[in-house]
């Protein structure tokens, strides 16, 4: 006897296949999987496209009465007129190009040099240098900007005072950190740790026999570097370049702390100023217009990137078996290499950290003198750390970090599963949507999230949750990059074996996927946590008295002129992030570092 299992539920067309080939199409149940996939994609759509739509709408509206999303729309081209006709726009654009280009050139020159020294030469203490070059990653760019301002501001900058005393100079200066060249330098140094990590990882993964082959073909050092090593590293370098470019153009911390006093404006600060003017009402329309500019600027290199990485299979540099690469003996250059390394580490890491500690144990910021040594006190630590403001900010920071990390990682897992495993016809959509926030500058995400919740009747405006939503959106890209790799590493048959053993989808996730993904999830969770507590852009763009976090607290204290309080908070913040970073290295360090 033959029995048929009936399926009376409505037809859901299995995407991609059945539709064309079989007119009748087998009836299928709406599986739990379909529901989860659909919800995931809808959430992603809302988070990513919602803000972008708001951005475009408000750029084309007269926003003097706020952004309007119901007819009648106050459509206008005035914002674009304002932006295009203002000569300021062009100078801001030019400054942005100089600022980001300069910082990137600096960061890559330094990172490549360090990568080569650490990976391919006999320089002493290579492992220590590796750790110390990466360590400033624990110091948020905001804090290093503050430290450099303490060191080099023209009036009472520590180094300026020293120089004045040594060379018997008077007046302000001689160095002025509130200028474009110094901004470039400080931003460049802030980019080095991550750039260095990305470049070393691929240099280390590169099959040394490719270089050996060139060597046995009679090539010398420079020929190998020029013809083999650098070309093979090209995808990695370009990948890092595109990533860091977005980081620079979206950054508000260094441009605000160092650029504002010196009237050096870049696009990101222009957007911040338009939406958070020191006086008067915010002009969201003009802000959005600048936001669209920045978005285009950030997206442009991606087109270029895809063109090159599109045929990345030509660059298979990582193979299973890697041999120890040849170690270049530095010989006479060794002292210079060491001077460079330790000198850079001192300037980029030790000096800012020391000045912050110094400032934090002084009642007011002054020059180094015998009197100053007598004034050393930890009173500011007591008063700052026991304040209600600090307690609130700390609590908010932790909530923000945990919520952002949990939210974006869970979403990232679900999205990655769609990208890697499903045959849904919406797969490409998940892929693009998860990648997009990576290319959208933080200021733009901040601005458009602000616009959305000014209108939507969801009571998150002014709370910590609006920051969490914006940050979750931004970091879903980072999370997806990690989890996609993680899920791709899990052989599909491990899931199929569970299904063939009679496990429902729910069980497959609970008993097979989740346990196997736990390390990836944990690693990503910490990374996102770390990134979100360091982030200043979003807390500042979405700032209100109710959602103060540590980074925005530091900035407001600094803005207020409280050098000592700022220094205390900076030291504490740096300590927290370094501890969290050590945690991360311990948990996933073998993968990231080795």
């Amino acid at each position: 006897m033959t029995t048929t299992i009936d399926r009376d539920e409505p037809v859901t067309v299995k995407p991609g296949r059945a539709a064309k080939a079989d007119r009748k199409g087998p009836r299928r149940r709406i599986s739990a999987r379909t529901v989860i996939n659909t919800i995931t994609i809808l959430v992603l759509l809302y988070l990513v496209l919602g803000p972008l739509i708001m951005l475009v709408v408000s750029a084309f509206e007269d926003t003097s009465g706020g952004v309007v999303i119901t007819p009648p729309f106050p459509w206008t081209g005035a914002n674009f007129d304002t932006v295009f006709t203002s000569s300021e726009t062009y100078s801001v654009l030019w400054t942005t190009v100089l600022f980001s280009g300069g910082a990137l050139i600096f960061a890559f020159a330094v990172s490549l040099t360090f990568a080569w020294l650490v990976e391919r030469t006999d320089m002493p203490a290579r492992n220590t240098i590796f750790v110390l070059v990466v360590a400033p990653q624990g110091m948020p760019a905001l804090i290093s900007a503050i430290a450099w301002s303490l060191l080099l501001n023209p009036t009472n900058g520590f180094l300026n005072e020293v120089l004045r005393r040594v060379f018997h100079l008077s007046g302000p200066g001689p160095l002025n950190v509130y200028s474009l060249p110094w901004m470039i330098l400080v931003q460049g140094m802030a980019l080095v740790p991550l750039t260095f990590l990305l470049v070393t990882a691929s240099l280390r993964g590169m099959n040394a026999s490719l270089e050996d082959a060139a060597r046995t073909s009679g090539s010398g050092f420079w020929t190998i570097a020029r013809k083999v090593t650098l070309p093979l590293l090209r995808p990695a370098i370009i990948g890092a370049l595109v990533y860091e470019f977005v980081t620079v153009v979206e950054a508000v911390d260094i441009p605000l702390v160092l650029g504002l006093p010196g009237h050096v404006t870049v696009l990101s600060t222009q957007i911040y100023n338009a939406s958070h003017p020191p006086v008067g009402l915010p002009n969201y329309g003009v802000g959005s217009t600048y936001g669209i500019f920045l978005l285009i600027l950030a997206l442009a290199p991606l087109l270029f990137y895809n063109k090159i990485i599109g045929n990345s299979s030509d660059y298979v540099t990582v193979t299973g078996k890697t041999f120890r690469p040849k170690i270049q003996e530095l010989g006479r250059l060794k002292p210079w290499a060491m001077l460079f390394s330790w000198g850079y580490i001192f300037v980029s890491f030790a000096l800012p950290l020391l000045i912050l500690i110094w400032a934090s144990i002084q009642p007011y910021f002054g020059t180094l003198s015998r009197d100053a040594l007598k004034r050393v006190t930890v009173k500011s630590y007591k008063s700052t750390l026991s304040s209600d403001l600090f307690a609130t900010a700390l609590k908010n920071t932790i909530i923000l970090g945990l919520a952002t990390a949990a939210g974006s990682m869970i979403l990232a897992m679900l999205v990655s599963w769609i990208i890697v495993r499903s045959r849904s016809r919406f797969r490409w959509m998940a892929d693009v949507l998860a990648f997009l926030p990576h290319a959208i500058p933080g200021v733009v995400i901040g601005l458009s999230t602000l616009l959305i919740y000014l209108i939507l009747p969801i009571p998150v405006y002014g709370t910590i949750w609006i920051i969490a939503i914006a940050m979750g959106t931004q970091y879903v890209s980072l999370g997806t990059r990690l989890t996609t790799g993680g899920i791709a590493q899990i052989q599909r048959s491990l899931e199929e074996a569970a299904e063939a053993s009679g496990a429902k989808q729910r069980h497959v996730w609970r008993r097979v996927l989740v346990p196997l993904l736990r390390p990836v999830f944990f690693n990503g969770f910490l990374m996102v946590f770390l990134a979100s507590i360091q982030n200043l852009t979003l807390p500042l763009m979405l700032y209100s008295t109710g959602n103060l976090v540590l980074s925005s607290l530091i900035y407001t204290r600094w803005d207020y002129g409280d050098a000592t309080g700022t220094a205390v908070l900076s030291v504490v913040m740096t300590a927290i992030t370094i501890v969290a970073a050590l945690f991360l290295r311990g948990a996933g360090g073998r993968r990231a570092g080795d």
Binding site: R7, G16, R17, A18, G25, P26, E499, A500
Partner: protein
Amino acid sequence: MAAIKVDELHHEYNDRGRAVTAVDHVSFEVEENEFYTLLGPSGCGKTTTLRCLAGLEVPTSGTIEMDDVVVFSSRGVVPTHRRDIGMVFQDYAVWPHMSVFENVAFPLHTGKRLPGRVIKDRVHEALELVNMAEYVDRKATQLSGGQQQRLSLARALVRQPKVLLLDEPLSNLDAKLREQMRKELRFLQRRVKVTTIFVTHDQVEALSMSNRIAVMNKGVIIQVGTPREIYQTPHSEFVAAFVGATSFIQGTVTTIDTDAAQVTLDTQIGKLVSDLHIELGVGDLVTVAIRPEAMRVSSDPFPGPNNLEAIVDIGLFVGDAVDYHVHVGDELLRVKGSPRSHYRRRDKVFIDVPPAECVLILRADEGPAELARPEDTLEPVMIDTTA
């Protein structure tokens, strides 16, 4: 009664907008407790067919019945976890985060709750079957490839499924282990009596283990038969070439002797006499397929009707035989010689082709059929067929 009935199974998928047919209206039936093999080169649709049976792929159309239950038809599809199957994957798919016990116990936790003692007994029983009982407490990652394979088999059998699906389970093992597992797997299947569908591209595995073999190519089943039928009377050049090494000679029927049941052919290497085992008429174009081990080689002429004069190109000593590549006129032949023979390049030898060993394949008029001959068929199969 058939344990598995597949009717007009069709599977198309979309590859960058182009519809690709993986399985093209395939029908077959598998008897209860039969060991049924889908054999074919990679990309022939055998794995897709198996995955449709498992429910891991959803076919475009057709019907699949398992144990009298329609698991797929145009009216609905039973999801994988509700099918009464056990499956072994090519890459074992042993869960690395579970112990051996947990791996095997997993299928028992999916249905209705069983008492712990029952689970323990059944896991033990399953592990015993595959001689893995002493590894029960190990971590899955501490096992060798062969052990993981056994574990994966135990896991597939622990639910005592009606149907066992094996997706190239031996192809990741090394040669020695593979040979041993062939025997063990077959013994095991006879003992536990489970209808088995086995997918492989290895003709030796297929011939040595199966009750019946379905040879597939380009999404279609070309021939179904017992291993002997498949090997000894292939219906097409593809099957002859895929299942073992074969020499092909093209010819035309000149005379038919119905009393002696023999035909005489005019071929490129001269007159050839063959036993008549298919219906033929004078003038028909045929391909003669001859197995290397069916021919004899000697320095002296043979008395039989098909005594060919050949020149040795190369003789490869493979231990239990010498694999001679010779040419007769312009035609190349592979002949298996005794391990004691020792002919060198350019030696003149005689080849005997017994009329009973010639397999006639009727050719369509448009000339020699296209030989979809995958590389792996070039491996000498002779070693194993001597036994």
